[in-house]
């Protein structure tokens, strides 16, 4: 089951002291799918990095369920991501030298030994569910759509409660993107994940339960 998100008075300041992200209040119910739209430079990626704990806001509260990220140091936030958050990036960020199965289960390198077998099994299952052919094939032989499916399998392999995706279909053609959106949303709903996706893709946003807008770093719910 996913986690609920609560943001209060969140501000991230730029080098010049101006706010590059400002969210007075936002509540997302556990298990809901939320799209974030806005023009380039609106702060969508910054918004996601704050939610993932990759960037510590200069002010405010970011709470996932009962966990306030402000109360964690960088190692604590990493541990939280390791346990609860899956990340998908626009350009996949896969290790070209590793096969699909190893890429999808890359977190097995640093999770406790007792969890590795389960993580690898989940990664294999997700790859199969997402229709990625031949888990042992070299990534270099994969199409863009297949690569993004491997990246989604990687994001889900450790059994997160939250999935954050930054422009997951931007590098894909329409047909491939639509197929990915269908599988992606189906998987998220099956697992009851809380999903937040930043995207320009209207077709993707149309599949979300709710869409919020960002403009110049400010939330326009």
């Amino acid at each position: 089951m996913g986690l609920a998100l609560t943001l209060r008075d969140v501000r991230v300041l730029g080098d010049d002291g101006g706010a590059i992200l400002s969210v007075p209040a936002l509540d997302v119910a556990a298990g809901s799918l939320v799209g974030v739209r806005g023009p380039s430079g609106a702060g969508k990626s910054t918004f996601l990095t704050v939610l993932a704990g990759l960037v510590e806001p200069d002010a405010g509260e970011v709470r996932w369920g009962a966990q306030d990220l402000a109360g964690l140091n960088s190692e604590g936030r990493a541990a939280f991501r390791r346990a609860s958050i899956g990340l998908v990036f626009q350009d996949f960020l896969l290790f070209e030298e590793l096969d699909a199965a190893t890429n999808a289960a890359i977190a097995a390198s640093f999770v406790p030994k007792a969890s590795r077998k389960g993580l690898r099994a989940r990664a294999e299952a997700r790859l199969e569910r997402l229709g990625v052919p031949g888990g042992a094939r070299a990534i270099t032989s994969f199409s863009g759509g297949e690569r993004q499916r491997v990246a989604v399998a990687r994001a889900l392999a450790h059994g997160p409660q939250v999935l954050l995706a930054d422009e997951p279909t931007a590098a894909l053609d329409r047909v491939t993107a639509d197929a990915l959106i269908a599988d992606f949303t189906a998987l998220a709903r099956e697992d009851g994940l809380t999903v937040i996706i930043a995207s320009h893709d209207a077709q993707l946003l149309a599949q979300m339960d709710r869409v919020i807008s960002l403009a110049d770093g400010a939330l326009d719910a």
Binding site: T49, E75, A78, R81, A107, F110
Partner: protein, 442 residues
């Protein structure tokens, strides 16, 4: 560490155990860092991916490290091999008596068969040496001729037995026109040679035409320049040069070897003296160190020479260490740059929740794999190099040089690996200080 503790705990240990413990101690920093960083993680797939991605650059780093370690280890091993080989070559030469002059010149001539013109010992002195109660063997070593680049030495049959033990084949010479060859001289029993007067390119191959020496025996290998020598009765050398034969004219030359007549002894550049007991060499040295004679222990002269070489060795070792240090710094500097190329992948791992220790460990392991592989290859390079150089030097000098890698070289490599792996902590530390989101954007 206090001497009392060393006396109890360290000195009683066998040398092998001491070397092993030093080796382990040198590697300890590496092992401790690895144990701390690797605990609970599985680096294998990531490391393989990173190493493969920049395999060309990595290969350059490995070659640099291998050369640095290889040159250092080879220098040390080669120097030791030469030192041991030259010392071994002087083993049978307890005491040398010659006319006053340079000990080193006589040492090179008498022991290492690099003849040069020196004054001769005359008959009365030789007789005095030969008849001294503490002298077991007094062997004249007379040179002046050669055959196809090989020195012909006039001596007595017991010297051959002293030098190499029982012959490999044939028998000792019994008449002036017979000779015994060293183990590596390409002559067969029954072959006859005509000595050339002098040595090297200046040798006069027609100077002794009409003289012939028949080979009747071959020495067992000694691992010394004497393996390339041709030994003949000293009488043969004297006769060939138109001198007296060392014996009274009224005596037929059916007998060769001592005793010699002091009045008819033409002279010899050097005499090898073997005392009845080893300790007597010192008193004999004292006895025959006087205005008309020079006596020295080849081992002592060699030791003085090696002391000088020891300083050279220390300088070479220091240079090798400096080279290794510079290479290590260059490689780590290269790795610092290389980690920038990995910045996005490392940022991804951090974004996925990898602990800082894991990121640190990935970078450190990457660097350490290159260092360890380079060092191991360096030792292989050193082993091959010393083998080839030793063979060349043995062929050139006749002195058996057996340079092999031993504990000092392993200690050198272990020390290098450990020190470099500690320096390799730096790139890991730098990676953790990079801006994660900026790296994720690429």
């Amino acid at each position: 560490m206090p001497d009392a503790v060393l006396d109890v705990l360290w000195y009683p240990l066998p040398a092998f155990v001491q070397d092993l413990l030093i080796f382990a101690g040198l590697l300890a920093p590496l092992i401790v860092v690895a144990a701390v960083l690797w605990r609970g993680f599985a680096f294998g797939p990531l490391l393989r991916a990173m190493l493969w991605r920049y395999r060309g650059t990595n290969a350059v780093f490995v070659v640099l490290i291998a050369l640095a370690v290889g040159v250092g280890a080879a220098l040390i091993a080669q120097e030791r091999g030469i030192r041991e080989g030259t010392a071994r070559a002087a083993d049978g030469f307890d005491l040398i008596v010659a006319a006053p002059g340079s000990e080193i010149t006589v040492l090179l001539a008498a022991v290492y068969l690099q003849p040069s013109d020196v004054a001769l010992i005359e008959g009365p002195l030789f007789s005095e040496i030969e008849s001294h109660p503490r002298v077991r063997l007094a062997a004249p070593l007379a040179y002046g001729d050669s055959w196809e680049g090989r020195v012909i030495v006039g001596t007595i049959a017991p010297f051959i037995d002293h030098l190499s033990g029982p012959l490999a084949e044939g028998r000792l010479f019994e008449i002036p026109d017979e000779g015994v060859v060293g183990a590596r001289v390409p002559l067969a029993l029954g072959d006859e040679i005509t000595p050339a007067h002098g040595f090297g390119e200046a040798a006069d191959t027609e100077g002794h035409l009409g003289t012939s020496v028949r080979i009747v025996g071959r020495m067992a290998p000694t691992g010394t320049p004497w393996d390339e020598a041709i030994l003949v009765p000293v009488e043969q050398v004297w006769i060939t040069h138109g001198l007296a034969n060392g014996h009274a004219p009224d005596k037929p030359l059916s007998h060769i070897g001592p005793p010699y007549s002091a009045d008819h002894f033409p002279g010899t550049p050097a005499v090898l003296v073997v005392p009845e007991e080893l300790y007597m060499a010192f008193s004999l040295q004292s006895t025959f160190t006087r205005p008309d004679a020079m006596a020295f222990l080849p081992g002592a002269v060699l030791s003085q020479l090696l002391t000088v070489l020891g300083d050279v060795r220390a300088a070479m070792s220091a240079l090798a260490l400096v080279t290794q240090g510079l290479v290590a710094v260059a490689v780590i500097a290269g790795l610092l740059l290389l980690t920038r190329l990995f910045a996005r992948q490392l940022a991804l791992l951090r974004a996925l929740g990898a602990p800082g220790r894991f990121i640190f460990g990935v970078v450190w392991s990457y660097a350490t794999v290159l260092i360890v592989v380079g060092a191991v290859l360096g030792l292989i390079v050193a082993a091959l190099t010393t083998g080839a150089v030793s063979s060349y030097l043995t062929a050139q000098t006749g002195i058996l040089i057996e340079a092999r890698l031993r504990w000092p070289e392993l200690h050198l490599a272990a020390g290098f690996v450990s020190a470099a792996s500690l320096i390799a902590l730096l790139p890991g530390w730098r990676v953790l200080r990079r801006n994660l989101t900026a790296d994720l954007r690429g």
